[in-house]
């Protein structure tokens, strides 16, 4: 029998998914539908992070879901990617929270921490009883983290941290911060309980993007930590960069969720909105936009799917992730803007999700590596000639 095109899944990509994948989609979609969709416009408008959802997200098992042991579910990369996609269809703020918690803070401890650090933090973070953040970016060190100024010096057996971290998601609600600092032995990571004297997190207000997410500045002044606060298993930028690869993988998937939400809103609206006596979906120019969105969404899904295959098989390189993050976020933004144009004036309203996703995606395009940096990383891998070092 000839299969008809399903507007919800134009390329019939659900046929690539197994029972666990489908259950992942069903579960997270229901969570978003019940807990996020009814209130997200209000949280965005009032710049509120839905902190009450942290515990339920932990009970759902989505925090660090792709890690093994320590109370984590040990799900596949593809299940993690699908969960990110469904969360971000709700709002990028939710996916950002989950990315920072699971892929940055928890992953750093899981991969580079001591057994004591893992036991102390990972089960609590997986359950949503403790929140983590990840301090790498600084006011004067963004794309080039090697220029970081935050330092850690020895004082007897203790460490003393000084410096400032900026644009830190979850910063002011975190119980623990993973802080990267320059030491005599190169760049090292520190597990900093946020109650430590000398640690301060100041929330950044007046954002026009990711308004339902908490973003903060971390200030460390003579912040004294015991010897065992350092992550023992890594030295150098490889540490933080490998965490970023984890998170970027989730972003390549997540952006598709925001894009799909925009596409669905535009498709629905185009079918209902009548001008010149018929639905605007019947005009060629509108169809061209909708088709372009559907085509790019399908391509993005295939790209994300391949990244997951590579990751589950242990063959994913940082440049593969760069291709995914670069392309999927770029296309998601293009889809959001095109959807906004179909919605006309209604497109700027918070009644519909489109402009909210669009402004969120402006941050998503920048954080975890700008388009320019990913281009240079892929360019270096293609040509063997690094253009930025």
């Amino acid at each position: 029998m000839r299969t008809r095109l399903d507007p919800q899944d134009p390329l019939a990509l659900s046929s690539l998914l197994d029972a666990d994948d489908l259950l992942t989609i069903q579960t997270v979609r229901r969570f978003v539908h019940e807990h996020v969709e009814p209130n997200i416009d209000r949280w965005y408008e009032h710049a509120e992070f839905p902190r009450h959802l942290v515990k339920p997200l932990g009970e759902l098992g989505v925090l660090g879901m792709h890690l093994q042991g320590y109370g984590c579910a040990g799900a596949s990369a593809r299940m993690y990617g699908l969960a990110c996609r469904e969360l971000e269809a709700g709002d990028s703020a939710l996916r950002s929270f989950v990315s920072v918690q699971g892929s940055l803070a928890m992953f750093a401890i899981w991969k580079f921490g001591s057994d004591e650090q893992r036991l102390r933090w990972l089960p609590a973070m997986a359950q949503g009883d403790a929140v983590g953040c990840f301090g790498l970016t600084e006011p004067d060190a963004g794309s080039d983290p090697s220029g970081m100024r935050t330092s850690a010096r020895r004082k007897g057996s203790d460490w003393v941290l000084d410096g400032t971290k900026l644009w830190i998601t979850n910063g002011s609600i975190a119980d623990v911060a993973i802080v990267w600092a320059r030491t005599e032995e190169g760049i090292r990571g520190f597990v900093v309980p946020t109650g430590t004297p000398g640690f301060e997190a100041i929330e950044i207000r007046r954002k026009l993007s990711l308004r339902a997410s908490v973003t903060a500045e971390l200030v460390l002044r003579d912040c004294v930590l015991p010897a065992d606060a350092v992550l023992p298993e890594v030295r150098g930028l490889r540490g933080p960069l490998s965490c970023l690869d984890e998170a970027r993988f989730g972003i390549a998937w997540g952006a598709l969720g925001a894009a799909r939400s925009c596409f669905e809103a535009a498709l629905r609206y185009a079918g209902e909105r009548e001008q010149f006596g018929r639905p605007i979906a019947g005009f060629q120019l509108t169809q061209s936009k909708l088709v372009e969105m559907a085509v790019e969404l399908g391509k993005g899904e295939l790209l994300a799917w391949q990244l997951a295959q590579l990751k589950d098989n242990g063959n994913l390189s940082p440049e593969h992730v760069s291709i995914g993050k670069l392309s999927n976020v770029r296309q998601a933004l293009a889809i959001a803007r095109s959807a906004r144009s179909i919605l006309g004036a209604n497109g700027i309203s918070l009644e519909l999700p489109v402009m909210r996703h669009m402004t969120n995606l402006e941050s998503v395009a920048t954080y975890e590596g700008t388009e320019e940096i990913h281009t240079l990383a892929i360019g270096a891998a293609l040509t063997g000639q690094p253009a930025f070092r």
């Binding site: 008809r4 399903d6 919800q8 659900s14 029972a19 666990d20 489908l22 259950l23 992942t24 069903q26 579960t27 229901r30 969570f31 009970e59 759902l60 098992g61 989505v62 879901m65 579910a73 040990g74 799900a75 299940m79 969960a83």
Partner: protein, 259 residues
């Protein structure tokens, strides 16, 4: 206490459904999911089992193919194991045939309590659970809106048009639960991962000792002779408030007997 839940895997109601043009039966060739109405039964079973020490929940289902994705949902929610009766000869089985197959499978699980939804959301015949009870020789309590058990008897609030009846009966028994009685839990990711290693016992008709001629299109005592599209909803009546708006709305509500 062995709690058995009858569950049905149905085509996703969110996807466009189609009927087979010759048999008029629902096309079930695509992906199947756990019937939403059964998620209440699974949740109820899990809650009851948690209160009686040494309890276990088993889900039982029937399908013409070996589809298990809907059962995986129930296992991820916390059921311990699943029994799937899968046989090509089952295509076209009517309600009574379904009940015969389910009863044979349930008997194997030696149940103390059998829970089912009052009806499925794809077929809506609503007759299978009581037929199962009859075939198993068990009492049935239908339309439960609340259920409690100590492992030897079951107390049920049975939904009626006027309110509810308090019903108590000894176990084993069959109880049907209405939609919305409990809030079905989310299958957590730990649950989803754990479900991978939970046993799904796939049985054929031969395993159950059922003659294929008793089921499927040949064994069905009902035949769908024709189908027609449901009447499309007509436009509503608009009440313009000319000072008597409230009275007219009350009159309307009285007319349809909701007040």
């Amino acid at each position: 206490m062995n709690v058995v839940v009858c569950v049905k895997q149905i085509p996703d109601p969110a996807a466009p459904a189609s009927l087979d043009p010759t048999t008029h039966t629902l096309d079930r060739s695509g992906k199947l999911i756990l019937d939403d109405s059964d998620s209440y039964g699974v949740e109820m079973a899990l809650q009851l089992a948690a209160n009686v020490e040494g309890s276990e929940v088993t889900v039982v289902s029937m399908a013409p193919n070996s589809e298990t994705s809907g059962l995986r949902t129930a296992l991820a929610m916390g059921a311990a194991k699943a029994i799937l009766v899968s046989d090509g000869a089952l295509a076209g089985t009517d309600a009574l045939g379904t009940a015969k197959v389910l009863a044979a499978a349930i008997r194997r699980a030696e149940p103390d309590l059998v829970i089912a939804a009052t009806e499925s959301t794809d077929g809506y015949t609503g007759t299978v659970p009581v037929q199962v009870a009859e075939l198993l020789g068990l009492p049935s309590v239908t339309f439960a809106k609340a259920v409690a058990t100590d492992g030897s008897s079951v107390k049920v609030e049975r939904q009626t048009e006027a309110g509810y009846d308090d019903v108590e009966c000894s176990l084993p028994a069959v109880v049907t639960v209405t939609a919305g009685v409990v809030e079905p839990r989310y299958p957590s990711f730990k649950g989803i991962m754990a479900a991978k290693s939970k046993p799904v016992d796939t049985l054929s008709l031969a395993d159950l000792g059922i003659d294929p001629s008793e089921v499927g299109f040949t064994g069905a005592r009902q035949e769908i002779t024709d189908v027609s599209a449901a009447e499309s909803r007509s436009a509503g009546e608009i009440v313009v408030d000319e000072g008597d708006g409230a009275q007219r709305i009350v009159a309307f509500l009285e007319q349809i007997k909701v007040v």
